[in-house]
């Protein structure tokens, strides 16, 4: 088992390295002169050349890459071209909001999907099942940004229950949570629609197995059998999809933050792209990619935690 984890860890680190190469390469072939962005079109060529030298942009690509990686490992992503402050500071300011949004989105997605999926499986072929499947089909078909606008129209504009956007900061936790409700719902409803279907079919698959009959014959109620015997055995496909969905969730926060005017990493990414602030964009893309790679690593670890048979099979 420790061999398996060590191998996965090696794979995880290799993937991160590959991602860093790709991100750096892409950012450096993109057109646009940072010196021009910072100094403006009225600047002289001498001033721009001097700035490029100060930013290290006149160095060979390999050296710049190594410099960037060494800095990133220390948490130093350089100085933002457009904001004029360290990128790490910009990220640290906005990370808690994006992290809260992604986490609450993931938690609500998983809870909603498990309840809906297991309920549908328990009512297989009956109206409850059809209803849930119809809803989830709609959820899959609806784009998150459009759902966000509908939610704002209904709950913020018409009913005035929740703020339409913006974030007051964690100084006022109630207001902060209230402003996260609609973005979380917009993220989770669409994601959970997919996951609910996966949960349902995985549960149906498991419900046919003999040990489920043993559990019933041992006098356990159907709810206990479903949640304690069927669900754990259905978790491997569910966790796989959760890992894949995490990437969708992270990119989802970029869209959602812009719809709801939330000052998170997604909005920062948008602004940085608009400002041609390549060094910030580069750090953010690397960060998002690292999050997704980490999620997939955790999914691999989850497999062996869930299923004792895999511990031996995978050494």
């Amino acid at each position: 088992m420790s061999y398996f984890i060590a191998r996965r860890l090696a794979g995880f680190l290799l993937t991160l390295w590959a991602v860093s190469v790709v991100v750096f390469a892409v950012m450096n072939v993109l057109p646009g002169d940072p010196a021009l962005t910072i100094l403006g079109i009225d600047s002289t060529e001498e001033a721009r050349a001097a700035l490029r030298a100060r930013l290290g942009l006149d160095q060979p690509v390999i050296l710049r890459y190594l410099d960037w990686v060494a800095g990133a490992l220390r948490g130093d992503f350089g100085e933002s071209y457009s904001f004029g402050v360290p990128v790490s500071g910009l990220i640290a300011e906005r990370l808690p909001l994006t992290f809260s949004l992604a986490l609450s989105g993931m938690v609500v997605t998983v809870l909603l999907a498990l309840v809906l999926g297991i309920t549908a499986a328990a009512r297989h072929g009956r109206p409850g099942d059809w209803g849930i499947m119809l809803l989830s089909q709609m959820g899959i078909a609806i784009p998150a940004f459009w759902l966000s606008m509908l939610l704002v129209l209904l709950f913020a504009v018409k009913l005035r229950w929740l703020p339409p956007g913006g974030f007051p900061g964690w100084g006022d936790p109630v207001a902060a949570l209230r402003s996260l409700v609609l973005p979380t719902a917009a993220l989770a409803l669409v994601q959970s629609a997919v996951l609910a279907r996966v949960t349902r079919s995985a549960a149906l698959e498991v419900m046919r197995l003999d040990f489920v009959r043993t559990a019933r014959a041992t006098g356990f109620g159907s709810r206990h059998v479903l949640w304690r015997h069927v669900l754990p055995n259905a978790l491997v496909p569910i966790v796989t999809i959760v890992g894949l969905q995490f990437a969708g969730l992270v990119t989802g926060t970029i869209v959602i933050e812009n719809v709801f005017y939330l000052p998170g990493l997604g909005r920062l990414l948008f602004q940085s792209i608009a400002n041609r602030d390549l060094i910030t964009v580069q750090a953010l893309v690397m960060l998002f990619a690292a999050l997704v790679v980490t999620a997939n690593f955790l999914v691999d670890i989850a497999y062996v935690v869930i299923d004792p048979r895999l511990r031996e099979a995978r050494g």
């Binding site: 040990f211 559990a215 014959a217 356990f220």
Partner: protein, 321 residues
């Protein structure tokens, strides 16, 4: 104490089980034999209240005097594990693969009997010991895939015994095991029934296993009971041609190489294609004219024994005249 009378189970396509009667008292061991498709497993499931959806059950199933036919799921659930328990054919797949077998056996002790986890573990250890599981202490924390088929079947028996049921239903418990292991499992079941004064309903198509395990025997064909009586008597002198057919289809060492193993031609037809008269007509070697058209009535062959066959009826009339 379980008493079944006139039990019939019908699907949309037709009857699958017809007019079955049986009773098992504490300490009694009843065998049910028949080919695949004879309705044995469905009979067992009906005694657990686990008949699949879409089948209608009529007749009477009395458990400790309470009528359970038509009872709802929650009434059945209260009886499962505590009054009657069941073990299944496939010990390979009948255990939750993600749970340590000790936890599986402790689960009903905690949930049904309210034992503390520590006490439940001790009781599970005692049950492992009672069911002859080797190295029980270590087994408690192993997963099903780490055990052999015979050990898994013992774990399932330990699970079934957890809440001290009055009746143990064993549905082909030895079919998936090799002969030596099967022999030990049947011995274990007999010992447990005797020591615990527990009823045993032993379902099998293996006549050797049934003869080792049970005192009384019920032979089923196509959803009907065709013969019943003391196990030793029925196997010594089968009254129904189907029982005789099953017996002669048994491989034996003495006959090896001297003759082809006789078989009953064909297989049990699906319920909607069963003949209108005697269910066995069409496959029976001793058929007479009325067999295909008319249902044979039970004929008493010995005290508490009968068989349903037109040949017996004809013979009984001949003897009476």
């Amino acid at each position: 104490m379980i008493e079944v009378e006139g039990l019939s189970i019908t699907s949309a396509a037709g009857p699958i089980l017809r007019d079955v009667g049986l009773h098992v008292a504490p300490g009694e061991r009843l065998g049910v034999v028949g080919e695949s498709g004879s309705g044995k497993t469905l009979l067992a499931m009906s005694l657990m209240g686990m008949v699949p959806d879409g089948l209608s059950v009529t007749g009477s199933i009395r458990i400790d005097g309470a009528e359970m036919c038509g009872a709802d799921e929650s009434a059945w659930r209260r009886l499962r594990a505590r009054r009657m328990a069941m073990i299944f054919q496939e010990p390979m797949s009948a255990l939750n693969p993600l749970r340590r077998v000790g936890d599986t056996v402790a689960e009903p002790l905690i949930r049904h009997l309210g034992l503390a986890p520590r006490a439940a573990r001790d009781k599970a250890l005692a049950l492992f010991d009672e069911t002859g599981i080797l190295d029980p202490e270590r087994r408690l924390s192993q997963y099903p895939h780490q055990l052999s088929g015979g050990q898994r079947q013992r774990v399932l028996i330990a699970l079934a015994l957890a809440c001290d049921p009055e009746l143990l239903i064993a549905d082909e418990p030895t079919t998936a095991l090799d002969a030596n292991v099967a022999l030990r499992i049947t011995r274990l079941l007999v010992r447990l029934a005797e020591e615990r004064r527990m009823g045993l309903l032993f379902i099998s198509h293996d006549l050797a296993a049934v003869s080792r395990t049970t005192e009384r025997l019920m032979v089923m064909y196509g959803g009907d009971v065709v013969e019943t009586g003391a196990t030793a008597e029925v196997l010594r002198a089968p009254a129904h041609p189907y029982t005789a057919g099953l017996l002669s289809a048994r491989p034996s060492l003495a006959a090896h190489g001297k003759r082809r193993l006789p078989t009953i031609p064909g297989s049990v037809p699906p319920p909607q294609e069963l003949p209108r008269g005697c269910r066995f007509s069409g496959r029976c070697g001793q058929e007479i004219a009325r067999c295909a058209a008319e249902m044979p009535q039970p004929v008493t062959t010995a005290p508490d024994s009968w068989a349903a066959c037109h040949l017996l009826q004809a013979r009984a009339k001949g003897a009476g005249a």
